[in-house]
Subunit: 363 residues, 2 copies
């Protein structure tokens, strides 16, 4: 079967949400990004739970000011207090070349340049969004000292379960939140230890168990590839199995990770995932998992379905990135919401059948 | 309180088990190590479940022959078949300087130099051991293609639960086995994704939950430090929390990990753990966790309790290593069994009270 281009209809209003749409959490802060949002339907609205990345406005040209949670503010009850670290831009041991992180010369990440929280945006038509003025979920505790990032939302019955990256100097772990209404959020603990991210929970039990896709970043042996695990209760996970790996020379040769919550179709679980190549270009691609045995990959598309082509996808805070954390499906039509260039949100609509038609058996 | 040396009585028969005591799994193989054994009492015997590391006898001076499981032998029912890879010792891209692994020039581990299985040794007096002629647990499936390593055994009621490192090109994950009798072993799946090792399960429920200590090796952000997690059923784990970190300038500055199964004492859970410094010297040290809230470190000893000093601890396959995976306790006396230099087993006996006396509040 020859690979054909899938018609992807980007919203004419893209980017739908940009940093300037966000009221900073503090009056002297600036918003760097509103991106990588989790997606849900709630009542008659489309909800985007944005990752909002912020930092103090940088007024000193010789220094970088880095925000993080204060160590002694864990049980504040209110929003955990922030502290800052001031770094000399000309320090010989520090590497400021990546706009997202500050590393030492050995390549170890010492700080993030911003701290992220989760904030709600809502829309009736799926294109015009109103962003809340205040954070919905603020980082909390030692495991979230550097922020919380990249939420993915799974609705199961009347509850919404949100996985997210919990980032601190101890590593990037995976947290779980639950909410019935996007107002009261409950922390369910860390469900995976570092280094792991890109966790999506399937929207229903399969064979009596919950399932998730996750993406460990192994040290020493192994690559950033996709695994699958199961759980009786969503909080405790086991039966980890390798699912799907990198493909040398293709768009997903360097790292991959689940994006949208798996979409149930007659042919199997449709997994829309991101991949990056050696030049750090992030695209979205598609794979199909067996309905009854989701640890079985039954097809994987060779070409990506979405590549950074539009101006707002190619330039920005970290350009050349399309990165989806969720989609809504209406009949045969899917609308995928995706972060662009690590700073804004966009959407694209496509026909599910056109993707399913092209899913071929794995190599 | 001044730190005093704890009297540590090494067995006069050390090393208790050496590679030459082991019948290789194949007639043309050689045993490199019999070490890092899990420890249990079973009926009237002390059981050591050895990690046995082997490889084909190396007869070609220009090449290294590396063993691993054949990819197509997963459902063999019998012992999974082995394949080998032949590597040119003078290949410009390969680094053979570490006797345990073969890396590429970028530092990535491409192969282990041996493959490990688990084998039983038994003793009535705890010093004279008889080693089985055949493997007890042989690696199996894709996640164990490079072998299984470093078992730790926890007895809960009439069952023994064994955590171990499941090693493959996909990373170092953590597997769980169960057995009632050390004859029939049941695989309970991977309980932690890569990179993780050094897992010990507490010997009883605490507040209705099982607990484990584990040691992720984070990539990018974070260090090889100890975490704690809980489970309702031993197979699925959640509520991950950071427990205990590296100490700059001390013997455990580079990496730490749980060793023996936590020992319940009136003062708290005694954790005998290993640490390594920047020169890769591995010692054993002690910490104390709260009995009811094991995620709370109530004391940690500044100095190690055991350092590689004896000749058999300082030289060998990978010298300068003492590495315990288990101990037996009789009244106030503990006998810790430990791997030495990644090739043999030794034991040391000490008074529990002398360790508990010296446990001081954490820094």
């Amino acid at each position: 079967m020859t690979s054909k281009t899938i018609p992807m209809q980007r919203s004419a209003l893209n980017p739908l949400i940009i940093p300037e749409d966000i009221v900073p959490s503090f009056s002297d802060w600036e918003v760097l990004g509103a991106f990588n949002a989790g997606v849900a339907r709630y009542e008659d609205e489309i909800i985007l739970l944005l990752r909002v990345a912020e930092r103090p406005r940088q007024t000193d040209p010789a220094h970088v000011i880095v925000p993080l949670l204060a160590a002694d503010g864990e049980d504040a009850g209110e929003r955990s207090p922030i502290t800052t670290v001031k770094l000399d831009k000309h320090h010989p041991e520090l590497d400021f070349s990546d706009p997202r992180v500050i590393r030492n010369r050995a390549g170890k990440t010492l700080y993030l340049t911003s701290i992220s929280h989760l904030r709600l945006a809502r829309s009736r038509d799926g294109e015009h969004f109103t962003v809340d003025e205040h954070p919905s979920v603020w980082p909390e505790g030692a495991a979230e000292r550097w922020g919380i990032e990249d939420p993915r939302i799974t609705q199961i019955d009347d509850q919404y379960y949100i996985t997210y990256s919990a980032v601190s100097e101890k590593g990037v772990a995976v947290g779980l939140l639950s909410t019935p209404d996007f107002q009261a959020f409950r922390r369910e603990g860390l469900i995976l230890a570092p280094t792991n991210k890109d966790v999506v929970i399937f929207p229903e039990k399969i064979g009596g168990q919950y399932y998730m896709l996750h993406r460990p970043v192994p040290e020493g042996i192994g690559e950033p590839e996709m695994w699958i695990a199961s759980s009786p209760d969503l909080k405790c996970w086991g039966n980890h199995q390798f699912l799907m790996g990198l493909r040398d020379g293709l768009w997903d040769e360097q790292r991959i990770g689940a994006g949208c919550i798996p979409i149930k179709t007659a042919q199997g679980w449709l997994v829309l995932y991101h991949g990056a190549d050696r030049s750090n270009r992030y695209c979205m691609g598609a794979a199909l998992l067996d309905l009854e045995q989701p640890q079985r990959v039954i097809a994987r598309m060779r070409e990506p379905i979405l590549v950074p082509e539009a101006e707002y996808e190619r330039s920005g805070f970290f350009g050349g990135v399309v990165f989806a954390c969720g989609a809504v499906v209406k009949g045969q039509e899917a609308t995928m919401y995706y972060g662009v260039s690590d700073d804004s949100m966009a959407s694209v609509t496509f026909d599910l059948a056109s993707v399913l038609d092209q899913l071929q058996p794995p190599d």
